[in-house]
Amino acid sequence: MCAQQRSPASVEVAATEIADGPISAVLSPPYRHDLPKAPTGIRGLDEITRGGLPKGRPTLVCGGPGSGKTLLALTFLVKGAVEFDEPGVLLTFEENGDEIADDVASLGFDLPALIKTKKLSVDYVRVERSEIQETGEYDLEGLFVRLNYAIQSTGAKRVVLDTIESLFAGLSNDGILRAELRRLFRWLKDQGVTAVITAERGAGLLTRQGLEEYVSDAVILLDHRVLDQVSTRRLRVVKYRGSYHGTNEYPFLINTQGISVLPVSSLALQHEAPMDRVSTGVSHLDEMLSGKGYYRGSTILVSGTAGTGKTSLAAHFLDAACRRGERCLCFLFEESPQQLLRNMRSIGIDLEPWVASGLLQFHADRPSRYGLETHLVAMHTVVADFKPTVAVLDPVTNLMTVGTHSDVQAMLTRMIDHLKTQNITAMLTSLTPGQTELERTETTISSLMDTWILLANDAVGGEHRRGLYVLKSRGMAHSNDVCEFILTDQGLQMLQKAGAADEASASPDIATGRTGWS
C-alpha cells in the first residue's frame, strides 16, 4: 500500500533535487545568506538540514511515544559537548537519572564523567500535581532560575527541554503556563543557546499542547510506523525558517551507534563515470567484457535460477578485489558468512584470509528482520563505517519477502545510487524463481544495471550444464556468446572461449540459450 504512495514521492524529490542542483550552484554566493547552524552530529540529519539546527534558536522535536525524541535530543546535546565543544544543559521532566545515563551510555558516552567535567548539566524537574495546591497568581520564575544557573555554571551553548509539556499535567492553569512557555522560548533565544524542545505528538496537531505555535524556527517530526508487522522509523523536517531543507520523510535507524538518518539527497544522477576497469576474477569473463572486466563504480547484476553459480561468481569478484587490496563489503540476505566461506572453499576460493586481514567484511541480515528502508539505513551505515570500494549484495531477491516489487525497486535504486556516488563497484545477485518468471524480478531493477550477466542451468542428454551470458554491458563492446562453464575445485572455469561460436553451436541448447532463458 505504502509503496504506491512512496514511489511518486521519490520521483518528485529527484525532480526537485535535479532542479535545485544547478540553480543553487549558479546563485550560490550572493543568493545564500546562510543561517548559522549547530550540527547535531547525527548522521544524515545534518545533511537534510544543510548543517544542523538553527544556531541560537529553539527547535521543536515532536513524535509519538517511543519515536526517538529523547534519544535525538540527547545525541544533539552529548555530541555538542564532546565533538563541537558546546557544553549543554538537559532539563528533563520525564525520566530519572539512571535512565538518562543509560541512554547516554548507549551512545557510547559516560554521562557522569561529562557532568563531572562540566560539559553537561542535568536537572530533573518533578511536578507532582497531588502535592501542589494552586492559589492565586504565579509564574515559572523558579524554572528560569534553575535553567539560568545551569547555563551559567557550564557556559552552555545547547539546551534540551525533555518533555516540557509534562508541565501541563502538573499544573492546572493553562493560561499562565502558555504565557510562561512563550516567555521561556523567547528567553532561550535571548540567551543565544540552541535549544531542542521535545513534545508528544497530538491528535490533529503536531504536539499535544500546540507548542509549535511558540517554537516557530524549526520543527522536526518523528514517526514510528508498523506496516505488515515491519516497523520503520521516519523523520521529517516540517519547518525550518530561513533555510533550505529536505522536505521528504526520511527513514532513520536507532542502533548501537545511536541515530542515523538516510537522506535521499543523491538522486540527482550526477555521479562520475570512471573509465578504469576492474577484473571479474574470471579471466574468460574479463575477455568477454572487452578484455578488461567491469567498469569501476558500475553496478553488476548476476541473475539465474538456483544453483547456477551466482554466489561463486560473486566470490571470484570479491577474491580478485581483495587481491588488488580493495576493501570489500558483502551483504548476505540468505546465508551466514560461515556458510558462504565453507561453500566457497569447496570450489577453491578461500576468502577467510581476507576476512582476517580486514579487507573483507560480511554483513548478514535476515530480510524479515526489519523493513526495507531500515535495511537501507543499516546498509548506508555499514558502508559509511567500512568505506569499501567493492560491495556485493547476495541475493537481492530475498528482499522481495519484505516488500512489493516497487518497494524493492525504490530501495535498490537508492542503494545503488548511493554506491555509485561513492564510486563503489557493486554486484547484486538475483535468484530467478523458475524459467517462466525469469524476467519478472529483474526487469524491476535491470534498468539500473550497467552490466547484466545471466546464468542458467540446462539438462542436456542426462547432463547438467551451466551457461553464462552477458545480456548487457553499458559502454563496452561485450561478447554476445553463451559460454558453458563448470565449477571445479579451482573455481569457475569456462569451457569455451568467448568468441568460439562454432564450438558453442555444438551444444545448441546452451549456445542459443533459447530453452533456458527466453
Binding site: 524537574v125 501542589i132 495546591q133 492559589t135 492565586g136 497568581e137 509564574d139 532560575v145 534553575r146
Partner: protein, 100 residues
C-alpha cells in the same frame, strides 16, 4: 530571613520561595503572615528563600513556580503555589481545613 514563633519545637515548618522582591512575592508573604498568625500562632517556623540569591536551592525542593510555599513539616511535604490570596485554599493546602 527566619521568622520564628515557637515555644520549643515548631510543628509547622514552612518555606516561602520567591525570586526577588516582586509585588507578587510581597503579597504572598503578607497573605501568609496573616494566615499563620491567625491559624498557627506559636506553632510554626517560616523561612524565606530568595532564589535570585540562592539559585541552587530551587532543585532541592523542586521549585518551578514562584511564589511557592512549601510545608516541610509535618509530613507529607505540601506545596502551595501562587500569591496565597485565596485563604481557604491555603488552609486546605496546609491541611488546616479539610478539602471539600
Amino acid at each position: 530571613m527566619v521568622v520564628k514563633k515557637s515555644n520549643g519545637v515548631a510543628q509547622y515548618q514552612l518555606r516561602l520561595y520567591i525570586a526577588g522582591q516582586t509585588p507578587r512575592s510581597i503579597a504572598a508573604f503578607t497573605n501568609l503572615k496573616t494566615i499563620c498568625d491567625e491559624h498557627l500562632k506559636g506553632r510554626y517556623e517560616l523561612e524565606i528563600i530568595d532564589l535570585l540569591q540562592k539559585p541552587l536551592l530551587a532543585r532541592g525542593d523542586q521549585i518551578l513556580a514562584i511564589p511557592t510555599l512549601v510545608r516541610r513539616l509535618p509530613e507529607p511535604v505540601k506545596k502551595i503555589i501562587g500569591d496565597l490570596s485565596n485563604t481557604e485554599r491555603v488552609l486546605v493546602g496546609l491541611d488546616l481545613r479539610p478539602s471539600r
